[in-house]
């Protein structure tokens, strides 16, 4: 296969290995955008990886007042988990601790479908018998009395099969160059619908491999991409590489992940070789673990 370079940046003939996940979308509204963001950011905090957090979550988009169910400014939040049951458990916890508690907020389902998971169905019991149900336009809502008035939340939301763990690696001459390119990639990717970048600022530095020399650890550092281990392991890094960063993307559909990866890689390559970007690679586990493979060269074709 011929080499592929974009603006002087080599695109490896590799693929990102992504997994089937279960996802849902909720819409959080509040008196103003600031308070909607307080709730959404709290709710999506500590949700970088299912391994340690149980759920991966992020803010998908900011919604203007005219696009939300109750006509107030809001945010769409996506949550991804390994199963519908996991998703239900974490959604309920996070809405209960982070949205119910946040002044002026209301929460609505952001996804239609047959497979339902509870949103306000169990949270309503916080109302201690004073909660009120309202069936409006075929959807059930709960009004839970709280100290600022009423917490309004829809009874349930839908979940859908989704794709988690789409990724690519940015190999650069320096850490500064890698970070600057990744920042632009994150901005381009976050502008798209149906995807979230669950890691801090959208960027990961601790790419992992499966397994470890310690039997209890299921995953450990991806030594072949660590610049300080060059010369010690079968490093994938040439002498010119100073740092590697990864961007991980979860999406509602395979296509959404595909589009986000493409937008991200494009933004990174726009920096070009001149700005110190050397190579684009991707994280995979040999192709046996995840059912979705995003071949970098097909994504960029």
């Amino acid at each position: 296969m011929p080499e592929m370079t974009l603006n002087g940046v080599a695109v490896e003939d590799s693929f990102a290995e992504a997994f089937g996940m279960s996802a849902t979308r909720v819409v959080i509204t509040a008196l103003n955008g600031t308070w909607a963001r307080h709730a959404a950011e709290t709710m999506t905090g500590f949700a970088t990886s299912v391994i340690g957090c149980g759920v991966e979550a992020g803010i998908e988009a900011e919604l203007p007042a005219e696009q939300t169910p109750d006509g107030r400014p809001g945010l769409a939040v996506l949550l991804f988990a390994m199963s519908g049951a996991d998703l239900a458990k974490h959604l309920e916890r996070r809405v209960g601790q982070c949205v119910l508690t946040c002044p002026t907020t209301a929460v609505f389902s952001g996804l239609d479908g047959e497979k339902r998971i509870p949103l306000g169905k169990n949270l309503r019991y916080f109302g201690d018998g004073f909660q009120i149900s309202k069936l409006i336009g075929g959807r059930r809502y709960w009004r839970v009395p709280v100290m600022d008035g009423e917490f309004l939340c829809e009874e349930s939301t839908a979940h859908t099969a989704a794709v988690g763990g789409g990724n690519f690696l940015v190999l650069a001459r320096s850490l500064e160059a890698a970070l600057s390119a990744c920042e632009d990639a994150v901005e381009a990717m976050r502008a798209l619908d149906g995807v979230i970048l669950p890691f801090p600022g959208g960027v990961v530095r601790s790419g992992s491999k499966v397994g470890s020399r310690y039997p209890k650890l299921p995953a450990s550092t991806n030594d072949v991409y660590c610049p300080t281990l060059r010369g010690l392991t079968h490093s994938r890094l040439g002498p010119e590489v100073g740092a590697v960063l990864e961007i991980v993307v979860d999406g509602l559909t395979e296509d959404a992940v595909h589009r986000a990866m493409r937008a991200g890689i494009q933004a990174v390559c726009a920096h070009g070789e001149a700005a110190g970007i050397l190579r684009i690679s991707a994280g995979n586990y040999g192709g046996k673990l995840g059912q979705f493979h995003f071949r970098l060269r097909e994504v960029m074709a």
Binding site: D70, G71, I132, K134, Y141, R143, E150, L152
Partner: protein
């Protein structure tokens, strides 16, 4: 295809139970079959064809023309389709219906929509007593669906209503929302005395401050309630007259009661 059309030949000397007349199985029904079906007229039965001129058409859409207030139980138990009544209806319109749509150009008598669990009833004129209410011996009135009354309604509207939406564009009589179990009743006009008497849960939404509220209602203050935005959007879609309640996001006066029966119901004045 034209609708199936029934035209009442003349004012009947007795009340007529229309309940089973239009009921049909999966295979549908034709005009001849309807004409043969017996209807009780006083103490004797006569074929429907003697009372109505029947013109064949789509049985999913039925027009009852020249209707009068002696035709009881029109659309009782219907699950789908559409009935258009040109004129007035008797009692028990749409009793126990689960789906479909009934539209009445004139007035209806008592117990319209009693026991309905789904579907839509639209009455352009006035309604009698117990609209959406429970018939004696029944534990529940409306159990779902939408009952829209363009004019006024009599006493005890929404009595023992359990679920669903009852909209009154005009005035409501005494004891509106009495013994409500849940659901939503909205009235744009004035209401008679005893509004919400014995209500357990549910919402009565009013445009005018109620007169003669039972003493077992307490003032809950003036509050802004987020769900009203969603509710009002639906009400306005059903009947633009409810736009009079806009804007939804503003403080509304709330009464809670009936404290003699749990007191989880509410009367909202906006």
């Amino acid at each position: 295809m034209n609708p199936l059309r029934l035209r009442l030949r003349e004012w009947p000397p007795h009340r007529i139970d229309m309940g089973g007349l239009l009921r049909c199985g999966a295979e549908g029904i034709d005009a001849a079959e309807i004409a043969r079906r017996p209807l009780w007229l006083g103490n004797r039965q006569i074929p429907a064809g003697e009372l109505f001129e029947i013109r064949a058409g789509d049985p999913g859409r039925v027009v009852i023309a020249n209707a009068c207030d002696r035709l009881d139980r029109i659309g009782a138990g219907m699950a789908s389709g559409e009935i258009l009544v040109e004129g007035d209806c008797g009692a028990y319109l749409g009793e126990g219906m689960t789906g479909g749509r009934i539209r009445v150009s004139g007035d209806v008598d008592a117990y319209a929509g009693t026991g309905m669990a789904g579907g839509d009833i639209q009455v352009c004129g006035h309604a009698g007593d117990f609209a959406g209410g429970a018939i004696p011996g029944e534990r529940r009135g409306m159990r779902g669906g939408t009952l829209l009354i363009g004019g006024d309604c009599g006493d005890r509207a929404g009595d023992r209503m359990h679920r669903g939406l009852l909209l009154v564009s005009g005035r409501a009589g005494a004891y509106c929302g009495s013994r409500m179990l849940a659901g939503t009743l909205a009235c744009l006009g004035a209401t008679g005395p005893g509004t919400g008497h014995g209500m357990r849960r549910g919402t009565v939404l009013l445009h005018h401050e109620p007169q003669g509220l039972p003493p077992t209602f307490n003032d809950s203050g003036t509050l802004s309630l987020g769900f009203l935005v969603l509710l009002l959007r639906e009400l306005v879609a059903l009947d633009p007259a409810f736009g009079a309640l806009e804007p939804a996001r503003r403080p509304v006066h709330r009464y809670v009661g009936d404290l003699a029966c749990q007191g989880l119901g509410e009367i909202l004045v906006m």
